[in-house]
Symmetry: C2
Subunit: 284 residues, 2 copies
């Protein structure tokens, strides 16, 4: 069926990656993932396919970005399914390293972004962003992409990676793609699989609260306090949801704001049952 289209290559070891990378047509687009792919990931792959001569996808559940009490062991994995999805999208090369390839014995080097990681997810998940920036630097170095594609779903991650890329003088364009949502508005996430049917239904409350925030903003409201109160009221009506934070922050610096007089990031972390979900939206 595929005629002369070359098969997608999949590699694990660094040496094999280097050999395959050297043969790729440029420019190269990289889509870093932790696998268990959904339409959000695939939207990144499609953007890379459109903009680049070659597309590399990495699949690695990165242990260093999980805290000791987080869901590393439970994080969903399905490599065969991921490979099949990526092959359909015309991906050229998939790198699926093991933890031993990425962090061999004696590993001791860390990439840290300071101020930006002191807020929001960084404040609540100590060490998380050090794990993220370290692994992304490794992915950048090993695959040498011209463009790298990330989802707006992880809004702070995007800001942190932009900062790292600029600070460390990477000649890589960071492309950010919009959040992809289910029909009812729930942001796609590999972690949605943790939700039972009732929780899945309740989880739409995050999107509903963001929609309310947008509506108030569109109506001219620029004070954070009444918008936040309206969002909290929506969560109060959903017994399965427990808000960890609702933040209104300067979209550049991620410093909290009380007035929406500049582009602002509304973001939140909410437990639905035992599953921690995040979502966000830019206002202005």
């Amino acid at each position: 069926m595929k005629g002369n289209i070359p098969l997608m290559q999949t590699v694990v070891e660094l040496n094999d990656l280097q050999a395959s990378r050297a043969a790729l047509a440029e420019p190269v687009g990289l889509v870093p993932t932790m696998g268990f792919l959904h339409e959000g990931h695939l939207s990144l792959v499609r953007a890379a396919r459109e903009q680049c001569a070659s597309v590399v996808v990495s699949i690695f559940v990165n242990p260093t970005q999980f805290g000791p009490n987080e869901d590393l062991a439970a994080y969903p994995r399905d490599l065969p399914r991921d490979f099949a999805l990526l092959e359909k999208e015309g991906v050229d090369l998939v790198w699926a390293p093991t933890p031993e390839v990425m962090y061999p014995a004696g590993y001791q080097t860390w990439v840290t972004v300071k101020e930006l990681t002191g807020h929001l997810e960084g404040a609540l998940r100590p060490g998380h962003f050090q794990g993220v920036t370290t692994v992304v630097a490794k992915l950048f170095n090993a695959t040498r992409p011209h463009k790298a594609f990330f989802g707006q779903k992880d809004a702070q991650q995007v800001a942190v990676i932009r900062q790292m890329t600029r600070d460390l003088s990477y000649p890589i364009a960071i492309q950010v793609c919009p959040i992809v949502r289910e029909a009812d508005g729930l942001a796609m996430s590999s972690r949605n699989i943790y939700l039972n049917p009732q929780e899945r239904k309740a989880a739409v409350v995050l999107f509903r609260s963001l929609t309310t925030a947008s509506q108030l903003y569109e109506q001219g409201q620029r004070e954070v306090a009444p918008i936040k109160a309206a969002m909290e009221e929506i969560f109060h009506q959903e017994p399965l949801a427990r808000v960890q934070y609702i933040s209104f922050a300067d979209a550049q610096t991620l410093a909290e704001v009380t007035e929406l007089d500049r582009p602002s990031l509304v973001s939140m972390a909410v437990y639905v049952g035992k599953t921690r979900l995040i979502d966000n939206q830019i206002l202005g």
Copy 2:
């Protein structure tokens, strides 16, 4: 006189570097320096010239690797002389960024190698190696070399950069060139210019102590204590010298050793007058 040989290019800004880098024949060799070049640097340039299709030299007195009480302001600089020396060696591209190019306002990203920097220079100069690894990562990212050339003079720096290169998955070969010495044995260093004539004469004591260590090792001595005592005795006879440390360490891990039963690094930091000098040698 140069016929059709293209002139060496010198750039300051990152955009200009990227444009010039893209036009270079590969493989590319990088020689990172802080300028005020001596024969030690030039030996690195010549090795790069022999092994690579193109040679890039960076000149940057990196403020982040100097401590608050160190010699950043006094560090010798002579860009016109450096450019002339490098042009004679057939260098293709010199990148001499300003501090503002390397560390623009809002800069906040750091690359840190942990265990290896806890010893020796890293223990005595807090933050020094974080400055080194951060700037070298930036140089690697911006210039994308296939090989990078460093001098054995900075033995711990070499070990730390090797570790960083491996840990961060850089596809870059680290080439280490031997220490280049003056006729009397003093290791070449840009900081030797700080020495007055008496101190310059006294400074040979570092090399004499290393020679003594080698001789004892060649004679079969494998205990550190008597070798170290013989070295200290040599320093006691030189009133202008004040030893900060003499170390015998595992050449791989830099952990201190008491017996020379594996490749070992003898290294030292010595004040001669107010000038801090370092020197080293591998035994075994």
